[in-house]
Subunit: 345 residues, 2 copies
């Protein structure tokens, strides 16, 4: 039996859920090709979630992964938001934005009973969580239909916690990975670990399968991660140029640019640490800013700038999510990329 048999897919490739840059189209393409496609659900309304899950079901019977956040929503803090907006005030002035007029930004809803109600209509084979796991009663609802639960660990301690709290497999997210760090037990970024060190040490300490993520972008690095003992790999960045991905034009341009490998972990786009290509606002306000509003509230103010800037073709204020190894990004179909990653060209 292959190490990734528990995923129910042919290839040991999981397409990483990438909220904001993809929808069901990418998930369907990857799952249809024999990998595990993922639908990032945290930024979807309940209606949109139902529509997306129905769309997937109508296109493939292969397993897919529905991914959710499970953070604790913060209490809005007017003083802190004011302080955060004062950091951005020079840019508001530059773009002629009245800070008082900024509409609410994109929310991120944590997994909830209301969401579980929708999910159980579709019973996805795999459900993954970022930022820990939901409460036990919520997790139990998902397990009822036999869904396998994937949890994301950025440290050895998080992996042990996830196994103890019901994860069926652990995603070892090395600090090379793009987008939001799954970090949930500590906010100490100095404790974040590279894939070469994280994967083997998690394997030594848990009994469930471990999925490697971070820096993996082509057949060679997939093979290397599997040889280190990973049951499968999770790849995000490499899919960013696929036609099925909804990356914005500024995002695609940055990925194709000569500075794509210059990334940093920053908290300025959402309030939580996430890796993206270094741009003007990261350089000038970040990468880590102590005055940022709490996740996900920080995104409201900066999204206003992003929208204005992107209209002029500028990615200066956009979250250009990207891992440390964008060398595997290709403008080919997600199905082709999935097969290439698996060494099955």
């Amino acid at each position: 039996m292959k190490e990734h048999a528990f995923l129910g897919v042919d290839l040991p490739i999981i397409q990483a859920p990438m909220a904001g840059v993809q929808d069901s189209q990418l998930a369907v393409a990857v799952s249809s090709a024999g990998g595990l496609g993922s639908l990032p659900c945290a930024m979807l309304s309940h209606d949109a979630l139902r529509t997306e899950l129905a769309s997937i079901k109508s296109q493939t019977n292969n397993p897919i992964n529905a991914n959710f956040f499970c953070h604790t929503p913060p209490t809005p803090n007017a003083a802190r938001e004011l302080r955060w907006r004062s950091e951005l005030q020079p840019y508001f002035s530059e773009y002629g934005i009245d800070s008082a007029d900024i509409p609410a930004g994109p929310g991120r809803e944590p997994f909830s009973h209301a969401v579980a109600d929708i999910l159980e209509e579709f019973k996805p084979d795999i459900v993954s969580f970022h930022f820990g796991l939901p409460a036990q009663d919520l997790l139990a609802r998902v397990k009822i239909w036999g869904a396998k639960i994937l949890g994301c660990a950025t440290t050895i301690e998080e992996a042990q916690w996830l196994e103890a709290n019901g994860a069926d497999a652990i995603i070892a997210q090395g600090l090379e990975a793009g987008g939001h760090r799954g970090i949930f037990l500590s906010d100490d970024l100095s404790a974040q670990v590279g894939t070469f060190a994280l994967l083997p040490q998690i394997l030594q300490r848990v009994t469930v399968p471990v999925i490697a993520a971070g820096g993996i972008c082509d057949a060679k690095s997939v093979a290397a991660a599997l040889s280190l003992g990973a049951a499968a790999v999770q790849v995000g960045t490499a899919y960013l140029l696929c036609p099925e991905t909804k990356s914005s034009p500024v995002h695609r341009a940055a990925i194709k640019g000569e500075h794509a490998h210059q990334t940093a972990i920053t908290n300025i786009f959402s309030g939580r640490p996430a890796r993206g290509i270094v741009n003007r606002v990261i350089r000038e306000v970040g990468p880590i800013n102590d005055h940022v509003s709490e996740f996900p509230l920080a995104s409201t103010a900066i999204t206003a700038l992003r929208k204005k800037a992107e209209k002029t073709g500028s990615g200066d204020f956009s979250p250009l999510w990207c891992g440390q190894n964008p060398s595997g990004c290709k403008e080919i179909s997600a199905a082709e990329l999935t097969r290439e990653l698996a060494g099955d060209v």
Copy 2:
């Protein structure tokens, strides 16, 4: 021809030079076993350097690597040193140390003509440099006898600089690595890269051989790094428990402890970023302190505390250098470990 043939050794294993925790004994053991042993020279007096090189020559004809720093020595800054000592004052009080009485700490001399004079008596086959490369006239002196030059890169840009400035091979030092970061083009720690992302991208951009370092500690990870295209690997942490290593008792105890994997990049022990196991002084003063004296001057003040604390068996003020993956540390001979790493047990 094997990828590591340019090193002139049987096995693709370089023992990382570890100033302060090893001398010629470890280098001889590794080189005699068919790997490339390294002598860290930056903290040796000229007499000691000559003695160590002579000792090696009398014990093995196999190639060895002489490793040097090539930083620019700082101008002592009394005000900055005072500021740094004021950070440590609570500990001086705790240990009954008069800050005015602290003797000069261990120096780190950069590579120089005086050192080259000694080196050319012994003509080591390999000479490696940390923190960039020495000036061209100095580098030329080493190349005269055919020594191969290894330079250490922590970013893609540093690798390109090293190749352009005369390195015969590049050590790609992923941020998992223990001890001092080789960082020399930028002091932006957010730009440091994990091995899984650094190695392949350097390989794409240079034509000289690339040696992988960081997170590599056993036969499996050596094989994974070689499969990613490394010509050889450089391993430090795994040797820390070998009897030929001069690690202190507190250092060995920390490596064997259950928190050995909890490391951080810190500048408080020397003034430059280096990775070690998190201990009391890192937790309370670091990991990164903006008031630290310039490298290597910062070490003077903290060494006084270290000496007092170690006398009571405490590693609270010791630099417990260690990479993010100490899982390969074994109390076996360096020869045995070298053969194990190479998969040649």
